[in-house]
Amino acid sequence: MITLQMEFKKIRRKKIGLTMFALLGIQFAWLLWSTNNPNEQELLQGWLGHLQSQPLICAIMMPTIMSVLASRLADIEHKGNTYKQLKTLKTAGALYRAKVLCGFLFLFLMTAANFLFLLLLGYKYGYVGNPDPKAYLAAFILQIACCLSLYLLQLDLSMLFFNQMIPLVVGLCGSMLGVILMYLKTYSFLPWGGFLSSALVMMDWNPDTRVITYYYRDYTPIELFAVAMIFVWIVFFYTAGKILFTRKES
């Protein structure tokens, strides 16, 4: 607890929360733009449509946002050259856990704000019916899991490399991969493809009527395995990060 408190003290006045919510603001603006002036069909399927578009927007933006968050939290130690000193005060594992928890709180709040915005948007436009609580809860948990797996990967890289360009370029490449995978597949085993695997709703576009129909996805065993991979990545990145951080000299 003290170590976590210390993390929050270190980032005081660093405006990390502001940066994260500014980036999230862009995501909100995108959602507003893409859902503007819904027609009758869109009002009818609005709640489902959100569950389809949200993972796609996240696949583009979240790898970069997570790399920014992780870099902001890890770079403080690089700049101050404080890793060695910190390790004399607390165990390396406790320090790593505190950084993970600190980032997790940020991404939890961001995801909560994100879903709250989706709900507000839906009620403002007057989508027919109410959102399916089970589906929205599942989507919420899966988005947190995807963000956490990416955050852990980025945190590991940001802590290992003094040159923050490397983790941020990995984040950018991840965003690029996410957006490209979106066009090629509906699931992926890569950490950046987790958002695609976790999309609970798919769409069917009829080129003749130009109408989009949304429907709940029927997961095949391989797609379920791709969803399970998100959690495998979390465990893998956490364990690897902890070991690497413990062994890191300075």
């Binding site: 500014a22 360009m165 941020l168 370029v169 490449c173 490209i180 066009y183």
Partner: protein, 245 residues
Amino acid sequence: MKSSFRKAVRAERLKLKRSPVWLAFIALPMISAFFGTFNYLNNIEILKSEWFSLWTQHSLFLCYFFMPALIGTYCSYLWRLEHTRHNWNSFLTSPLPFPALYFGKLAQAVFMAVLGNLWIFFLYYICGKLSGLNSPFPKDAASWFLFGTIGAVAVCCVQLFFSLVIRSFAVPIGIAMAGGILGLWVTNKGMGLCYPYSLYSIGMRANNPNLELDIGAHLVNSAGYIVLFAALSVLYLRRHEISAN
């Protein structure tokens, strides 16, 4: 001024020596080219315009979202050394005028943006040939390259300013990414030429190789952003007390 500029460029080159920052400019366009070509070959019965269709697949996401962010990463890296430890003291007390110091950094950023653009076009040519495109390479590509590069210089100036003012390495990259995404909306509204992050994608004719570019507006706006943000950066260096960390 001329010799000061040369010295500043040499100093910047020394700072970047043995630093593999150029790798990013190689890797990201490669991902885009690989998957773009793959997607083109998979949809060859719909995408009938050969080189132009291939260009849309290569350039769409790269030019709108990722090139501005990549330029932002490089600009952040250029100022990172100055933002670290007590390096502002030595930077600001170096016997070179502030404009020379700034333009030394800008020259490096522009050099890398030009190299990155050349690499994008090289990959485009190779992927086209490997895909079996027999029609001649489009002459318009020279114009895409030229105006894309001019737009990239404008992005370099904007990002160098943000990276100078904001001490964090990561935040300006987030700004560049957000700027690129907003650029998609601004371009869709028909105001892309007024927005710095869209100048690059419009100049490159990303996703629309047949676009009739308003050359005058593109040049004037790019020059305007270059002058504005270069002046702001030099002014910031002159007027602000930049404390060493």
